[in-house]
Symmetry: C2
Subunit: 329 residues, 2 copies
């Protein structure tokens, strides 16, 4: 993991993100800063999250020999879209906690969460629009297409996938599409061919799948102090994550016991959540999810070998891919 210049990514992206947010009308800017935990003082540091997507954009740009200035515009745009979707997801899921803090809708009402999300969505478009070619043309097309795919996945996800196929399709849109675009925009700003951009996007889709399945695992067995999200919130909210679907599909006694406990409204007390998590593990759901993440990681690494010349930049991208599947936050 020491290869990852995530601190450097933060130092590059965070001031640009703040600069972009400063362009918002004052009242909406206040909501946006509230999301980034920096509304009280104009010079307070932004809590911008992991910047994982921005890191992918910058790493692919560097690996393919691109101009970092252009890539920074793209990295900021991708993070803005990511945060816009978080603001809306929190309203949709009724989640009151994110990054260990109260969410914007929990503090200021659903309208605040919806409108601040919209502002960040369009700020992302503005970021690419003012960056010049190719971002203002092909870059906007890449991002908008990813957002449509993401919306499709989010809508599929709200309808609670009932089997692994439905889950994987929703997850490709919900998480993969934007990570794919983050990678593709890095390649685009490096002047890559469409063929190469397609490979790089596919790398991102696999990384995104590994990332989402790992998210599911962290939700069930991660440390809520580190994730900043409600422990086992997926189970409590009746969301069928991959470990749960794999466990339900195993056909064992534990699967049957789990199914009987997942009646809506039942699985909300901590002790029940604990027991459900045990049954998911007993029925093999935890192991199956780990294997699925590993499989997508492997596919991403195979594409990486074809799409990126060997060297320190490829190793940095491989480390980022590994991080999707082996992280604690």
């Amino acid at each position: 993991m020491s290869l990852l210049p995530l601190g450097a990514v933060h130092d590059l992206v965070s001031p640009r993100l703040r600069e972009a947010l400063s362009g918002l009308p004052a009242s909406v800017r206040e909501l946006a800063f509230l999301h980034f935990d920096s509304c009280s003082r104009p010079d307070a540091p932004l809590d911008v999250g992991k910047l994982y997507r921005a890191a992918l954009t910058l790493a692919w740009n560097r690996a393919l020999g691109g101009d970092q200035g252009q890539a920074l515009h793209a990295a900021v745009a991708v993070e803005l879209v990511h945060n816009a979707s978080l603001l809306h997801d929190d309203v949709i899921d009724g989640d009151r906690l994110r990054r260990g803090r109260q969410t914007v809708w929990a503090l200021r009402g659903p309208a605040a969460g919806i409108l601040a999300g919209n502002a960040l969505f369009f700020l992302a478009v503005q970021q690419l629009n003012t960056a010049g070619d190719p971002l203002s043309t092909s870059g906007v097309a890449e991002l908008a297409s990813a957002v449509q795919h993401m919306i499709d996945g989010e809508w599929a996800d709200t309808r609670v996938p009932q089997d692994a196929d439905a889950y994987l399709s929703a997850c490709e849109g919900k998480t993969g599409a934007l990570i794919g675009a983050a990678c593709a925009l890095g390649a685009l700003t490096a002047g890559a061919t469409e063929h190469r951009i397609g490979q790089v996007r596919a790398f991102g889709l696999h990384v995104g799948a590994a990332f989402q399945v790992t998210d599911d695992l962290l939700n069930l067995w991660g440390d809520p102090e580190q994730t900043g999200k409600p422990h086992r919130g997926d189970l409590a909210n009746g969301r069928n994550s991959y470990p749960v679907l794999a466990a339900l599909g195993a056909g064992s006694d534990a699967s049957a016991s789990l199914r009987s406990m997942l009646v809506p409204g039942q699985a909300s007390r901590t002790a029940m959540l604990e027991r459900c998590a045990e049954l998911v593990e007993e029925a093999g759901g935890r192991a199956a999810a780990g294997q699925l993440a590993a499989r997508h990681l492997e596919q991403a690494l195979t594409i990486l070998d074809h799409a990126c010349p060997d060297g320190p930049d490829r190793r940095a991208l491989a480390a980022l891919a590994h991080q999707a599947a082996r992280r604690s936050t």
Copy 2:
């Protein structure tokens, strides 16, 4: 009013709108068609509303000698943004009725309303992005800037303006910004100078103010059969519209009686709403709103005289401006 080719606008814009919607991922497209009342049959006509903003885009384009093909892309984009904002507003306001039908969130839940709105927002960006210069560059900038202004106005509006100044500032953003952009995009696609585009946008801002104040009047005294919205919904929802603010500010006995009735939760029964509307009228709120709309109309017409050569196209634009202040739906 006979100068207005609104039927022609519908014939031009409606098929292009359907074509744009057809590019959405299937599940989200279904939600979008639900909003446009056309989900059951692929060939059913879309209920696209008044297309007032599209008419302004096309009329300004024609008045300044532009290319209709480009203007059509802009007109579709503006209507998509308008409908996206309606989808979100209905969630935010909890409105279950729009165009005489159930709203998307009322039918499929808040997530559906939020996500379908997002899809239309980005479809608008895609519409301009694929239209080539100047829409893919300056056009996206114009639209995105208007959307930020609109979001700012919507957020101000949710916090219930307490005086006429706060109301007018919110209303310029909420309604004026997009109508301003609709006009400006018509001028942009006609190759107008920045100075001219600025005049045209200012025309739209005044038309937008007249439009919103008229909306407020229709909400209180219009025919709900024609507006398709809940009668006196603004009063019932505790929204301070201009007639109410003007009445409260008049300092008469009727103002005091009105204030005592506007305690939250009080003014919800039909008889109470009826009495409130009477008091608004008695305190001069209805007349003041009519005068404000007339003043903005006049300012728009003055700008029109400077920005547009005399002839049938100017008369068509004047008729559209009049329609903002004198309409029944």
